[in-house]
Symmetry: C2
Subunit: 319 residues, 2 copies
């Protein structure tokens, strides 16, 4: 039986919410087993209270969390009994594992994934972020921050991983790929983009369509946006930051002008740009994918991210 | 008498609007002379119709425009009688010139500034963009796209140029400087950021306060945000793109739900994030600054950008 590993610690909402999410996941996917890493008693109580099928559950006891305030490298090296490290070890040891769901410290997840789940061929991991685009769908940004100093060969691999993911998750047969650059015209770009461009052109399995600018990346014309982890992280955080800033502007405008009805538009935008409803980002390019759920994920986010892992494996379940 | 050079071609609104802007500039600043490069007859007619003091005006006749659709390098090399090239030559030849105002092709302005206005000490130009921040002021992003593959020495210079500009334009005595990175903690960054960080710390004339993430760059805590031209251009265009996308979302919501009053908030955000009212971006690190006014700048934008050049020179006029 295929198995998903769920890290029950590291979420802002506590292990109870994650355990409830695990209970719902067991009900939703009767063919899937779970390994849940976290405080055993709490998890067991919640699962039993929700009439979970305990024959499909393994609990690895852990009471050690890696918080968002810790140095990722130090935390991964020292906290070897933390829920995250135990989850990574469990993933490395079994072939049946589809992947890990965790709401923990992103930096620690990346460092830990390199430490425990690196591929033997020196492939570098990438953080793949799904961002809402102007056509109402999602575009995949790879790398959003796992490999900060990427090579052109890394970038080609990010494009392949992102394309494969979009095929499996969204049934897009031939995902379009753009490379993030400082101009749309061919020939624009920094040294890395100029080196990567011809390699993407040569790669027959990619539907590479050229450069894409920051202003146009989320137009929906590009299913996959390839970039290095540095520029990708700046792009991702700026996208989230700008959405938040404009929503705050609306709230302020509504209050200052005593126009409560304007809050409707703020709510609409909040739900559109709330990445937590989607399940956050996915680490690819390692032995098993890891889905980073937002720190404030609710129980349904655990079900949805588990579904993504199933889709990533089989490409059969519809998201 | 100090002189401003105005490129009357390259604007979407035609030379008439720029000439009208020049007439208003002459009235607003009686101590400033203008060199206007563009179609002589049109410019002369408009200036005279507006009772301009022609003793402070020089017109360099040109009917050749570099459009936004042209390759910047080719255009600068071949169109040696274009208004932009003639403006650059005029700036290079005179000591009294405060700088150039142009609404032309940004790429061509940068290439042209390197060709005609490079400093002898190999300083690289930077495009400095003024972006509205969450505190209601402006933050300066350097470099927003002039030096795509920057060195750490270039980056330090961008920080100095940006700080100096914020001091002169906004009377900020000790502008705070952050370096754009993939994490707020010291030690985060790509190779270039890690190399630049200690150099910024050592530079006593800078008020360097550390790394800044994409999500926080426009918080208002950072007067100057230093980055390389590649990441800066991605950041700038994404910032503009996200503002446009959310405004479009609001317009769509308003129409689909038949709620015309929601358009008020769209208008408010449009004016807040309309960079054309500000005068666009400034190229520093060359012999004379060039202000790139937006392609759709109106006549008042010409007055405002001229005021910025006066402030950049003396630091006395209030923006």
């Amino acid at each position: 039986m295929k198995r998903i590993i769920i890290d029950a610690l590291g979420s802002d909402k506590g292990p109870e919410t994650i355990a409830l999410g695990a209970a719902l996941t067991l009900k939703e996917f009767p063919g899937i087993a779970l390994t849940i890493v976290g405080p055993k008693e709490i998890i067991e109580t919640i699962l039993k209270n929700n009439n979970s099928d305990m024959s499909r559950v393994e609990i690895i006891d852990s009471n050690e969390t890696i918080t968002n305030y810790e140095n990722p490298m130090t935390a991964i090296m020292k906290k070897t009994n933390s829920s995250l490290v135990l989850a990574l070890k469990a993933a490395a040891e079994s072939d049946d594992v589809l992947g890990i769901v965790t709401a923990g410290n992103t930096g620690a997840i990346i460092v830990g994934s390199i430490r425990y789940l690196s591929l033997p061929d020196m492939t570098r991991p990438c953080l793949s972020a799904l961002l809402p685009n102007a056509k109402g769908g999602y575009s995949c940004l790879v790398d959003a921050g796992a490999t900060i100093d990427a090579t052109s060969a890394n970038m080609v691999n990010f494009a392949l991983l992102g394309s494969d993911m979009m095929r499996r998750l969204y049934k897009i047969e031939n995902p379009t790929v753009g490379i993030l650059s400082n101009g749309a015209e061919k020939g624009k770009g920094n040294k890395l983009v100029k080196e990567t461009y011809p390699l993407l052109e040569e790669e027959n399995s990619l539907n590479f369509i050229g450069n894409v600018e920051g202003s146009n990346a989320l137009s929906g014309d590009f299913d996959v946006i390839v970039t290095d982890g540095f520029a990708g992280n700046v792009f991702l955080k700026n996208t989230e930051g700008m959405a938040k800033t404009l929503i705050k502007d609306i709230v302020k405008f509504s209050k200052q002008n005593n126009r409560p009805e304007m809050m409707e538009i703020a709510s609409f935008l909040m739900s559109k740009y709330d990445l937590s409803s989607l399940g956050g980002a996915i680490i690819l390019g390692i032995k098993k994918p890891i889905i980073k759920a937002h720190g404030n994920s609710n129980e349904m986010a655990i079900v949805n991210t588990s579904r993504m892992l199933i889709n990533l494996d089989s490409g059969e379940e519809i998201l």
